[in-house]
């Protein structure tokens, strides 16, 4: 655990906590982007440059933008209702329980006491070879999934041609 990692971890964790606690949804989304970018930097720090940069490209460039778009489309920058759900203490309790379980498991785990090995050298070419050879079926499946997700998202988000539910949008003359 060195200083760079600690710095990045603090940044990431702080941004993540801000993302889930802030009242303003746009702030929350921006903090999420920051947290995920920090995570990308941690990946780079862990010698996974390719994944880290892909993480930044995908999350900061696409997902964060998507979320702020959604926030603006549902006019939810400021929360009109209460911030928390109907029974927050139950949720908090469960969260604490789960976090405690995980932390306990990590602390008791033998892997964190083993000696680490030097960083492997990974070329992008190796990643490409693996993707195109051993992982070609998952790759194709992911392609199908992304296509289906694109189409599905477009279909779900399309306004229904239903006169009853279109009170808030102008009806064509």
């Amino acid at each position: 655990m060195n200083a760079v990692f600690a710095l990045l971890a603090g940044l990431t964790l702080g941004a993540a906590l801000a993302a889930v606690t802030l009242r303003n949804l746009v702030h929350a989304a921006l903090c999420l982007a920051l947290a995920l970018a920090g995570l990308g930097l941690i990946y780079i720090h862990l010698e996974a440059e390719f994944v880290g940069l892909a993480q930044i490209l995908v999350y900061v460039g696409a997902v964060a933008i998507l979320i702020v778009f959604a926030v603006l489309l549902v006019r939810g920058a400021e929360l009109p209702e209460g911030r928390v759900s109907r029974a927050p203490w139950w949720g908090a309790g469960f969260t604490a329980l789960f976090a405690a379980t995980l932390l306990w498991a990590v602390v008791r785990s033998p892997v964190i006491r083993q000696a680490t090995r030097p960083a492997p050298t990974v070329t992008v070419r190796a990643i490409g070879d693996q993707l195109m050879r051993d992982y070609v079926v998952p790759l194709q499946a992911i392609g199908m999934l992304l296509t289906a997700a694109t189409l599905g998202a477009a279909l779900i988000a399309l306004p229904r041609r239903d006169p009853n539910s279109s009170a808030h949008q102008p009806t064509p003359p």
């Binding site: 921006l30 940069l53 490209l57 460039g61 933008i65």
Partner: protein
């Protein structure tokens, strides 16, 4: 005595050698950072004047002509003005985000410029595995800044401008990346340095084999330029800051130095994307012919950069602005499929390496011409040829 070509590197080594050994890597990095942070903003200053004068020439006016010789010190006057102006933050604004946005817009292009090889052995950050991915990842961060600027102002127009900018950035990022991908495919590496080196083989007549001399490269360069114009919010894709519709777009609510920072960010983005185009397609710092090798390599890079910038200025002075739906239609129905087909043709080019050069060229060009004809049909049909009638 070093050659003129390697002079910057020599100077850097000399300076670094003055410091104790443990500090040397840090000093080297600082020198590189400092050079980038000085060089490109200076180029920005020069470019603003150049752009104003060129536009004025196109529009039959004089342009800036009061400050300095032939008005060339106009940028200094502008800079002093923006520094001394009052920095206004609207009451409705989200102060934190409003303050952060200009920096989020300026820093990523500067970071992106670091991986561009501006001369032989002259690159601030040589990422051997992920250079191009780094460029795009950092470039994508600008979008967040644009949104922050547009949203934080609490102004309808700036929010509209931000939305337009985001839609446009996301839509044109795809053709931009896909047209760059062809070069990655043919180079087999994401390193920008090795992309330039790959183009340094010499053809007949001492001509360097720039990627733009191949069918996929020629079309890819054009597609890249189109997408780059959109990414840099340059005319005819400057809808996000269409002053006749939404004032200044997403930075309407900025004034003074922050406003200047947005301008700087835009131009740095333009430099970065033009530099990338040069690296990918125009042979980077390579001269066109071997017998021109005596000209320093960094001069070639900046010469090409100025040519491209001049091209964009010319474009701005010539073309009218598109409508939003036309913009989107163009991106998704024309550019995107054409870049995909271009990538396919690049693959064909790769696998026909053993063929006769002319035959290979004809095959690639024929495929692309066919795709172009088919894809452009809806557009030519939607906009029939106009006949102009002039007054006698």
């Amino acid at each position: 005595m070093p050659s003129l070509d390697q002079l910057p590197l020599y100077l850097k080594d000399q300076i670094v050698a003055l410091f104790p050994t443990p500090l040397q890597p840090w000093v080297g990095a600082l020198i590189a950072i400092g050079t980038l942070c000085a060089l490109f903003p200076a180029l920005f200053a020069f470019t603003t004047v150049l752009e104003r004068k060129t536009l004025a020439r196109i529009q039959n006016r004089l342009g800036p002509n009061r400050v300095g010789p032939a008005g060339f010190l106009q940028f200094a006057a502008d800079g002093i003005k923006s520094l001394t102006k009052e920095d206004i933050v609207p009451r409705n604004a989200d102060r934190v985000v409003h303050f952060l946005a200009p920096f989020v817009v300026v820093v990523p292009p500067l970071l992106a410029l670091a991986v561009l090889p501006i001369g032989r052995n002259l690159v601030a950050l040589d990422l051997k595995e992920t250079g191009l991915l780094y460029f795009f990842a950092v470039g994508a961060s600008v979008e967040v800044g644009v949104f922050m600027a547009g949203w934080s102002g609490g102004n309808k127009y700036s929010l509209l401008g931000a939305m337009r900018a985001l839609a446009q950035l996301i839509s044109y990022e795809l053709p931009l990346i896909l047209s760059a991908l062809t070069v990655v495919m043919l180079t087999g590496s994401l390193s920008l340095v090795s992309m330039v080196e790959k183009q340094s083989s010499v053809n007949f007549g001492g001509l360097y084999s720039w990627n733009v001399f191949t069918p996929w490269g020629a079309l890819g360069f054009l597609l890249f330029l189109t997408a780059a114009a959109a990414e840099a919010n340059r005319s005819p894709f400057d809808l996000p800051e269409a002053e006749s519709e939404i004032i200044a777009g997403y930075f309407t609510e900025y004034s003074g130095f922050k406003f200047a920072l947005f301008f700087l960010g835009e131009y740095l983005g333009l430099f970065a994307v033009c530099g990338l185009g040069i690296t990918l397609f125009l042979g980077g710092w390579l001269p066109p012919f071997t017998w021109l090798n005596w000209v320093p390599s960094w001069l070639w890079f900046f010469g090409k950069l100025m040519c491209l910038i001049f091209f964009f200025v010319w474009l701005r002075g010539t073309l009218p602005r598109l409508r939003m739906d036309q913009l989107m239609q163009f991106a998704w129905q024309f550019l995107f499929p054409l870049t995909l087909i271009n990538a396919f043709v690049a693959g064909v080019w790769h696998f026909t390496a053993s063929w006769n050069f002319a035959l290979r060229w004809a095959l690639g060009a024929g495929l692309l011409a066919l795709a172009y004809t088919l894809l452009s049909r809806p557009f030519t049909q939607a906009f029939p040829r106009r006949t102009y009638r002039f007054a006698p």
